[in-house]
């Protein structure tokens, strides 16, 4: 391919490899991470040798990890962190510290340098969040105790990983070399403070201003810019980019833009992480593996076994049902992508030499490749025995992770009334609205409101449409409302739709889409006004009520009758005419009946109710 620029050729290779390998891996039930790793191995120097400079691409792909940490930060709402403090900090620290110490001790006993033993321990103690987060939803284990525990521990590993990354350079062999001493430290602290303060004061107004421009791609650009800028600032003072991104994420965790940011950054994170995994696959040094395959097997089995033993001990003390234990153990016993990052940083800061690092990278990658196989084995052999030995159901400890069972799309004049009624009755609802200012106002009153476009499938999913029992469709724009109804009917059939119709045409549109609970927004208010007019004109209040309710019922019946004829103008008009005639006839009949009754009263008979019938003592 002479003449083609390098970036074009490499894009071709990377994208092609990913697009081929990932679907194949998923088809085999191995998950996308394995697919990326395999793609990397295939195109790397030990495979087809299409790419030889793995290091260069690794540097770029590291940005995927940065984005991932931004998203981790976004998830860490301080409130949620507090609710999950026990599983995260308690069990997380037991796992991370315990595994690190055990592994490092074994390393020391094997005669390794203490730095290498420690870094290897830290790297191997990590588990793959990416694999866990793709396996858990696939097996619908997210809401179980084991699923939540896996997520909690991974979360702690991520937080711990950031601390590790920050502290790693201190372990560097030539510590004295090139350090600017306290000046450097002060600069770093100052930058962190600046980011925290700036984030608190400036980020949200800036995002609001950008959101108001109502140009979705600019909001996406701003999200990326935000992460890149914080990363760049941190790197300028010699701190880790990942740490900066994480900080920015935490600062925005409570903002109304959280969901929108998540959705916008998500695909970039996914792609760059994929690239990262590909780069890792490419950088697995098979020369190292081949040189001593026995040692490699021993290390992989050894560290997985050691971690598994610790996890098994934890399971005994944690409230995890026994049947769920295998998943918990297998998902956390494997190595993880953060281990790559740790090793990368450690070699970068020349804490450890390159050769053992690539050996450990290979060990981690192999353990990750093993995970799907281990899960299949656990399913086949361990789980059935545990399940039959008396299953104890997990106790719901953490309510916080579950989504509200009611989701309100559109929180303008209409959705607001629905939401306030629900809220006043003690139920909670998640709100999604595209008006940044309204959302902002809502949040000031403590509502779980988010900014975003309700016709985007990904955003709906993040807002919890998959778990919602009821979705209130209160969007004022007819087209958007119908589009959202289509998406929800197709992708979230478990949710019942309660819809607002702007007018009759909109009503028909929703009706055709199978929406059962539709209210025309003007009907009831207009009927109330009609009642008032009747009252002012001398109709008894209760009679006016009955007339209005009867009109309402008749009107709705008519609408339902006409629905099948939608599109057939002539039929429609005839049905409408007939309906109007029916209502008129009904009222006419009632008027006559009343007249008759009055006439009978003239005969000396007055009885609408038995109490007016003469009793024996009358």
């Amino acid at each position: 391919m002479e003449g083609a620029p390098t970036w074009l050729t490499s894009s071709l290779i990377y994208l092609g490899a990913a697009v081929l390998a990932v679907p194949i891996a998923r088809l085999l039930g191995l998950g996308s991470v394995i697919g990326y790793l395999a793609a990397g191995i295939a195109i790397g120097p030990w495979g087809l040798a299409l790419v030889t400079d793995a290091q260069a691409i690794l540097g770029f792909a590291e940005f995927g990890v940065v984005l991932m940490l931004f998203l981790v930060g976004l998830e860490l709402e301080p409130k949620r962190l507090w609710a999950l403090r026990r599983p995260i900090f308690g069990w997380g620290s037991v796992q991370l510290a315990g595994s690190t110490l055990l592994l490092a001790a074994v390393g020391l006993a094997a005669g390794l340098d203490w730095r290498l033993a420690l870094v290897a321990g830290l790297a191997l103690a990590q588990s793959s969040t990416a694999i866990a987060l793709s396996v858990l939803p696939e097996r619908n284990l997210m809401p179980t105790t084991a699923g939540r525990s896996v997520v909690s521990v991974s979360l702690f590993q991520d937080i711990g990983g950031i601390v590790i990354l920050a502290l790693l350079p201190l372990l560097a062999v030539g510590t004295a070399a090139g350090s600017g001493g306290w000046q450097q430290g002060a600069k770093a602290v100052g930058m962190v403070l600046a980011i925290v303060l700036g984030g608190r004061l400036l980020l949200r107004p800036a995002l609001r201003w950008i959101a108001r421009s109502e140009t979705p791609e600019i909001f996406t650009a701003a999200s990326l810019l935000l992460v890149v800028a914080t990363a760049a600032l941190m790197q300028a003072v010699g701190l880790s980019m990942a740490l900066g991104a994480f900080l920015a994420g935490v600062l925005l965790a409570e903002s109304e833009y959280r969901r929108e940011l998540e959705t916008d950054i998500g695909p970039f994170k996914g792609l760059l992480l994929g690239l990262f995994f590909i780069a890792v696959g490419m950088s697995i040094d098979f020369a190292v593996v081949m040189k001593d395959p026995v040692l490699m097997a021993a290390v992989v089995l050894g560290f997985v076994l050691l971690k598994a033993l610790l996890l098994l001990a934890m399971v005994r003390l944690m409230p995890i049902p026994r049947a769920e234990a295998p998943v918990f153990v297998v998902l956390l016993a494997q190595g993880g992508e953060f281990g790559f990052v740790v090793l990368q940083a450690a070699t970068g800061a020349s804490v450890i030499p390159g050769a053992p690092a690539s050996f450990i990278v290979a060990a981690i990658a192999i353990s990750m490749l093993m995970t799907p196989l281990l899960l299949v084995l656990a399913d086949r052999f361990v789980a059935p025995r545990l399940a039959s030995s008396g299953r104890v159901d997990g106790v719901d400890e953490i309510q916080d992770e579950q989504q509200a069972p009611v989701l309100i799309l559109g929180f303008g004049r209409y959705g607001q009334i629905v939401g306030r009624l629900i809220n006043a009755s003690g139920l909670s609802a998640t709100v999604l609205d595209h008006d940044a200012e309204a959302v902002n106002g809502l949040r000031r009153f403590g509502w779980p409101a988010f900014y975003g476009d309700a016709t985007r499938l990904d955003l709906l999913r993040v807002a919890g449409a998959g778990e919602a029992r009821v979705i209130v469709l209160a969007i004022d724009d007819v087209e958007q409302s119908l589009k959202a109804a289509d998406i929800i009917r197709e992708h979230f059939p478990q949710a019942t739709l309660v819809a607002r119709a702007r007018n009759t045409t909109h009503w028909y549109g929703l009706h055709q889409r199978g929406v059962l609970h539709i209210e025309r927004e003007t009907l009831d208010a207009a009927l109330m006004s009609g009642r008032t007019v009747l009252e002012l004109m001398g109709t008894e209040r209760h009679t006016a009520r009955n007339l209005a309710l009867r009109f309402r019922q008749h009107n709705i019946e008519l609408l339902n009758q006409m629905a099948p004829h939608q599109g057939d103008e002539k039929q429609l008009i005839s049905v409408a005419k007939q309906g109007r005639r029916e209502l008129e006839e009904l009222w006419q009949r009632e008027r006559e009946e009343r007249r008759e009754q009055r006439a009978r009263r003239g005969d000396g008979f007055q009885a609408e109710r038995p109490d007016a019938v003469p009793g024996a003592d009358d």
């Binding site: 005969d603 000396g604 007055q606 009885a607 109710r609 038995p610 019938v613």
Partner: protein
């Protein structure tokens, strides 16, 4: 159309034990024979579909009212149902023969124990005394008033007692009209309301 029409009315079914148990027992029977209508669920806005109710009544041979006793009477929605569905000229009065010959059975529960429905109890009257309006309603429409099934002290009744009452209710519905006491009863004839029963008065 069902032979037996059970009109159930409880304004707070979520707090009910007795009424709910009886409703569920009836709902388990053959729906082609026993039709249970939960009034408060059907008409939460107190807007009764009179035509439908009358059509169902016309088909039925036994009407059952199932309700808790509130203020010595029926819950308000059932009273409204009675007011609107048992219409003049349909259920009673000139031409009002739609219900004549049918049976009316009450299944009620009270909060107070049976000892309170005595001259020395806090309700001062035997429970039968509060049922005169029901009996007369039946008589005016030419319906046969069957001996009611009453559960006193429903708040404190044990689960077992509630359950056995529900069983009894279910058995009685299934065995109707082959009840031993029915054979001993006379056919009630409808009370005719004379056309000149009341002197003419101004229409208001």
């Amino acid at each position: 159309m069902a032979d037996i029409l059970v009109i159930a009315a409880h304004p707070q079914l979520e707090h009910s034990r007795a009424t709910r148990a009886l409703m569920e027992a009836a709902a388990h029977l053959d729906p082609a024979r026993v039709h249970v209508r939960d009034l408060y669920a059907l008409y939460p806005d107190y807007f009764i579909d009179v035509a439908t109710e009358q059509a169902l009544l016309a088909q039925a041979r036994l009407l059952v009212w199932l309700h808790p006793v509130h203020w010595y009477s029926m819950p308000p929605l059932l009273k409204l149902w009675l007011d609107e569905v048992f219409a003049f000229g349909w259920a009673y009065g000139p031409g009002g023969k739609a219900l004549a010959g049918k049976d009316l059975w009450l299944a009620a529960s009270t909060g107070g124990p049976d000892t309170s429905y005595r001259p020395d109890g806090y309700n001062r009257y035997f429970f039968d005394a509060f049922l005169h309006p029901y009996e007369q309603t039946a008589a005016l429409c030419g319906m046969r008033w069957l001996p009611p099934l009453v559960q006193h002290g429903a708040h404190r009744a044990s689960d077992a007692l509630i359950e056995s009452q529900a069983q009894l209710f279910s058995q009685r519905l299934q065995s109707w009209p082959r009840w031993p006491e029915i054979d001993a009863m006379e056919r009630t004839s409808q009370c005719e309301v004379p056309a000149d029963a009341r002197p003419a008065e101004s229409a208001t």
